[in-house]
Symmetry: C2
Subunit: 371 residues, 2 copies
């Protein structure tokens, strides 16, 4: 293998691929990035068994001298390319299993591993993938990914549920204390599926997707999912097991709807939770009294706080309820709308947040009994 | 105590004073900030016994309603003021030992402690303090503070030595593996002193000094030092014990002087150290051969690197030497000059770095024997 390439071209792709490498990996070769130089270009692969990221650099973008392949420790090759001056970099296999990375004045000789030893990774494609814009997909992840569970006790809850039924895709994340649901429409689709994708893998994927309206292909298989965009292929395992039915959780007999400014609501909760601490789950108390929303919290050792803001409401009902400030703030942050609708249900039922003018995003937060 | 004040005015001063608070403090009241409202203004005090920071807000800048004093947990009062909307804040002692912090829609009630219980802090002044510009003082700290020792085994080495002799002040830091010395001139001075100021306290002080050419007053006493600038008073303990004589360390019989570009020299060492690790003290090998400087390092498991750069030199001597890349990079970073002079001495003597056109800053790094 021998080629020369502009620093920025290879660095960008190495940075993408290296997101798949895990420090905790027990298979030493998976700490490496596989370089495969074929006639059509350079294929870079990183994997931690859970996810695999491949980036392809077309042969038109650099100068191929000799084909070949090798696996190189990911941590070092990325740091080296990052710190080389901005110029043409020569990369070449020497002495069988060493990689020589050189510029005019710099020579790095890195110990590599034979590409034959790298696990076989089978990237398939469907004939008819689901296609959505990258920015819509990023929104799904940003608006739901804080709500999946970090506890491994119920594995399906560590994922985000994608449920496609003809032209509607519902994306749901919950840790059983709060729930985020985003609904998007998919054009010209006649597929059905109901899968759970590991939440942390989607967060990794989200980091390498640019925020623009170019297309993202989604290929779904029995036990894995593949995302393809630009020159990148991202593969993740799926989580086995069926996702809980959340419709009952969402069904509501609302007793009061409140309308208020989104940012202002966020700020009053933020301040009201200043004297609470994580151990107490940042509990704040909310009271609706006429057209005033009052938030309080009380920490006997430190002190107490009372915040007030004006609201609009749909009936004359007053109420008191308590909830986790952290969960409520994460839910509010998912909204881009200037106004927010807060739907209060019966005492033990979740508080629902939505955009008053759209039903595409719903955030639920369970109240906490404080008496 | 009762007053109202603009958020930004009190927040800035609280942020300064809170730098003195330590999480590790065993004296609970020192987790607090003392508020003293007297006729001339508001005096805020924070202290951890090692350092004390006071900020004074002149009565002209806010509205005093009633004098008084109290101590309030620093962590909470700073967070609260930071998150209040930008407007006038009312601060008032209620129920004896509670602080009510309120704006139109927000009320915080914080538990306080009587100001009588706060340790007495005696801030004195000299009749004739040393006066230097803030930016010169900041330079001293920035160019020496990385070199003091973090090991408590030799307490004086955890400080920076300030030695004033008439119009010259020498500031020295060393951990016995490298040394940084900055020399500045002090006008109209006839004082003599030779003190050691705890390095970490100077780093704290540096954070609250703006980078401009306004004046800084330095008042020196037997066991403490006081810095006064704008409305801020910063007091630090001194370290007992006499600082080692470093002149012998610096005396040199140079065998070769090399001149090169500062940034380029930094970059080649940075890259040459990429394959080393902290355990090995990031050792790199330097070779001067004709007009080429060659840097190499070798890590049998990972690989090896060779960097080359052109240099000028003052004689025909060639040499080989090894040193810690980390120490050398920190030393280089202290220079603002485009060019740097590297003075090589006998084998076991320090390598000296200086600006070729000035003697005000000197950095020494001990070589490491690798054979």
């Amino acid at each position: 293998m021998k080629f020369s390439i502009k620093k920025e071209i290879i660095l960008n792709q190495l940075l993408h691929v290296s997101k798949a490498l895990s420090n905790k990996n027990f298979i030493p070769i998976l700490a490496g990035i596989k370089f495969e130089l074929i006639e059509s270009g350079l294929l870079l692969t990183g994997s931690d068994n859970e996810i695999t990221i491949q980036a392809f650099i077309d042969s038109e973008k650099f100068n191929i001298i000799k084909l070949g392949s090798i696996v190189i420790p990911g941590k070092y090759i990325v740091e080296i390319i990052k710190k080389l001056p901005d110029e043409i970099i020569n990369i070449e296999i020497v002495d069988g299993l060493k990689l020589l990375v050189s510029t005019q004045r710099t020579e790095f000789n890195l110990n590599g591993i034979s590409a034959m030893e790298y696990p076989k990774i089978n990237i398939e494609k469907n004939k008819k993938p689901i296609i959505i814009s990258k920015n819509i997909f990023k929104n799904i992840i940003n608006q739901t990914s804080f709500a999946f569970s970090l506890q491994e006790t119920r594995p399906v809850l560590t994922g985000i549920n994608f449920k496609l039924n003809k032209n509607t895709m519902e994306c749901t994340a919950t840790d059983s204390y709060r729930l985020a649901k985003k609904i998007i429409s998919i054009e010209n689709n006649d597929e059905l599926f109901d899968i759970v994708i590991p939440g942390k893998n989607l967060i990794d994927l989200n980091k390498i997707i640019d925020d623009n309206d170019e297309k993202l292909e989604i290929h779904i298989f029995n036990n894995k999912i593949i995302f393809i965009f630009e020159n990148i292929t991202f593969q993740s395992k799926l989580i086995n097991g069926s996702y809980p039915d959340t419709t009952k959780f969402i069904e509501n007999i609302n007793i009061l709807k409140v309308y208020t400014n989104t940012l202002e609501f966020y700020d009053v909760i933020d301040r009201a939770s200043l004297l609470t601490n994580d151990k107490e789950k940042n509990i704040v108390n909310l009271e609706i009294k006429d057209n005033i929303l009052i938030l309080t919290s009380n920490s006997p050792e430190i002190g107490k706080v009372e915040e007030r803001m004006e609201i609009e409401k749909n009936n004359k009902v007053d109420l008191k309820i308590s909830f986790s400030a952290k969960y409520m703030m994460e839910a509010i942050k998912a909204f881009e709308s200037e106004k927010i609708e807060i739907i209060f249900n019966e005492e033990t039922k979740p508080i629902i947040l939505k955009n008053p003018y759209s039903d595409d995003l719903m955030q639920l937060v369970l109240p906490i009994r404080t008496y």
